[in-house]
């Protein structure tokens, strides 16, 4: 199965493979480093806007004087920054690096990729500026005005070109499942963005047809962009760190194809009850329920690979973040399927419950897996170790506890909101009052998550400016290493 297996004990082959990895990481240093480094800047800005938006929901007079900071601009700015500034920027960097490693081919044209990173960041900066100054399109997930789109699309064209180059230059043989996921994501995202931006913003179709395209895009931004990058990273990192192959190769293939087909059809469950043909909504409800297939196969593969190795999450930061993320993926997907059932959707639609669910996918899963990936990639790119295990600990616990609290508070508030909204006797302002304590607790939980992001950013900057060469010892949560297994 594994072509490397026979060579495992040949010292010459081991040395050759090590040299190859060094070469790959050196070629990736600048482009991947810039993508990942700039994503952390957007993470911090996105968090600041998130807290501002959260405070505004329980204290509406907060920062209300300035039009640039009104809730209806800060909220979409937060969403677009975390989606395109943080998750996408980090996702491109992580995807390219894993692809380069798995194709055993160094990135060839790192100048065009560095240009791509610059364009991508410019697109985000211009788009954010556009939203805050009042040019938002108010199309959910696509609020960046048209003048930001060319930056993003041209940048992505370079990323696609390089990814095709890597696939072409790979030595013959097995293609690992992470390569499937990452290549698919690199082609799905621009196709989604181009279609949706074109038909909704650039040359809008008649208004009644807009929401289906909007939610086809918005749901697939998570399902066909962040999810495949996150799953590709988890499929790569879990076996790497614990030193055993994935549980089942065949399941991973079933998981890929069922995700590719069913996830793409999910989006219309955001429109249940709205003015659309029944078949359109029903198609998505069915596809949402069918998501149990890819989710269960991926869950079996990730969690069964981990069986017997969970204690390694005590030591490995990467593994702890990625396993946390993989668990959230299972939960988010199960929850998402249930939310598409019409009777339950009757309560949860139009409430904060949906916001909590979106964060379970985009934060609990994608963001946490990306944190774990960055902990793994950066020491290899820079040949340096993370400077402080204390900061990594703060990062993990603030984000994990903060996020779990965020999710519970907001889901609970959302359920109450949904139940009361369906009681015609409950006056609307009473529902607003009912959600208040939960919205305040959300601000507290979100601040804790942001504290974790600050620890991460400090850790990252410290790593960049310190000239300490690698000691060869990875920075683990604990100094004690339980056994000589390869751990990172």
């Amino acid at each position: 199965m594994n072509p490397e297996k026979d060579q495992q004990h040949d010292p010459e082959a081991i040395e050759k493979s090590r040299q190859q990895r060094l070469e790959i990481d050196l070629a990736a240093r600048w482009p991947v480093g810039i993508f990942i480094g700039s994503s952390i800047f957007w993470l911090l800005l996105g968090s600041a806007l998130a807290i501002a938006a959260s405070i505004k929901l329980h204290d509406p007079a907060f920062l209300a004087e300035n039009p640039w900071l009104t809730f209806g601009r800060v909220r979409p700015a937060h969403l677009n920054i975390v989606a395109y500034g943080w998750l996408s920027t980090a996702g491109i960097g992580i995807g390219l690096w894993i692809l380069s490693r798995l194709c055993r081919a160094p990135i060839r044209d790192n100048r065009s990729l560095t240009l791509a990173a610059a364009l991508w960041n410019m697109g985000n900066a211009v788009g954010t500026w556009g939203i805050l100054r009042g040019d938002s399109t108010a199309v959910e997930w696509l609020e960046y005005p048209t003048y930001a789109a060319p930056f993003l699309l041209v940048s992505f064209a370079f990323v696609m070109l390089e990814s095709v180059g890597l696939i072409r230059r790979r030595p013959p043989g097995h293609i690992y499942i992470s390569q499937w996921y990452i290549m698919a994501a690199f082609f799905w995202f621009p196709s989604l963005y181009f279609t949706a931006h074109g038909l909704l913003v650039l040359a809008p179709v008649q208004a009644p047809a807009q929401p289906p395209i909007n939610w086809w895009f918005a749901h697939n931004a998570l399902g066909l962009w962040f999810t495949p990058i996150g799953l590709g990273a988890a499929y790569y990192l879990i076996p790497k760190i614990i030193g055993r192959p994935i549980h089942s190769y065949y399941l991973s293939v079933i998981g890929f194809w069922s995700l590719a087909f069913f996830y793409a059809w999910n989006g219309m469950h955001h429109l249940i009850g709205g003015p659309f043909p029944a078949w359109l909504i029903t198609a998505s409800v069915v596809a949402s329920i069918m998501m149990f297939i890819p989710v269960i196969t991926v869950a079996i593969n990730h969690h069964f690979t981990m069986v017997g190795h969970f204690k390694k999450t005590i030591y490995s930061p990467t593994l702890r973040f990625v396993v946390f993320g993989a668990m959230c993926y299972t939960l988010a997907s199960f929850q998402g399927s249930t939310m598409a059932i019409r009777s339950l959707n009757g309560i949860t639609h139009f409430t904060h419950y949906t916001i909590a669910h979106a964060h379970l996918g985009a934060y609990g899963f994608a963001t946490m897996v990306f944190f774990g990936s960055i902990y793994y990639i950066m020491p290899r790119l820079l040949e340096r170790e993370w400077p402080s295990r204390f900061l990594i600990r703060i990062h993990f616990w603030s984000c994990a506890i903060g996020f779990i609290a965020y999710f519970i508070f907001l889901s609970w508030g959302g359920i109450l909101q949904g139940i009361e909204m369906n009681q015609k006797e409950t006056p609307f302002l009473e529902i607003v009052a009912l959600t208040m304590p939960y919205l305040k607790l959300r601000t507290v939980a979100g601040s804790l998550m942001t504290l974790g992001h600050l620890a991460f950013a400090v850790s990252f900057c410290w790593m960049i400016i310190s000239h300490r060469a690698s000691t060869g010892e990875p920075t683990l949560f604990s100094k004690r290493i339980p056994n000589p297994d390869p751990i990172s």
Partner: protein, 214 residues
Amino acid sequence: MSKFRYIFIGFMLTFLSSWVGLVLMPVWGLGNFEQTPDPATGEMIPPKLSSLEKEGRDVYIANGCVYCHSQQVHPARVRTDIARGWGVRRTVARDYMNQEVAQMGTMRTGPDLSNIGVRNPSETWHYLHLYNPQITSKGSNMPPFTFLFETKKKDPENPAKDALNLPEGFGPGADYEVTPSHEMRALVAYLQSLKLSAYEIPEAPAARIESLAE
């Protein structure tokens, strides 16, 4: 490359299937509506937005009203929209044809606005509410939109006719007067135009929909 080529074709085909189903089909089925004469009045419905109402819609879009207010009335058998008075019938696709930018929304931090033009036609109420929601709706978490109003020193000889009549404790004080800006006027004109399901349309006569709800 040969093996990867099949994977590539495969995942682009699954993508294409959703593109046909959820993009192309809606454009065909929901993208070509035409106005129809109202059987009662003979006017063409749904009505078109005036240029001031369009300006107002752009203010609505720029300031992200959609993140808290939906514009869709759901059937009575699913939700309490009709019981709450948000519309006499559910909204149907054609109701939105002249909106140009769909603002149907996915969140109800605030109430639905599909028929706010019928539910609350008072211009004064909207100005006070948008100046500071606490004036009209105490406990609301809607932000004040003071930046869409102009505050000037009051000229006792010649007071502005359209100055807001702000209650005690709100506004800049007795020496000043607050008037709606042009953008605010446009926004309120747009809100008053929102009567998305306030007329009968062949595909959704109110009476029939109501009887379905029983």
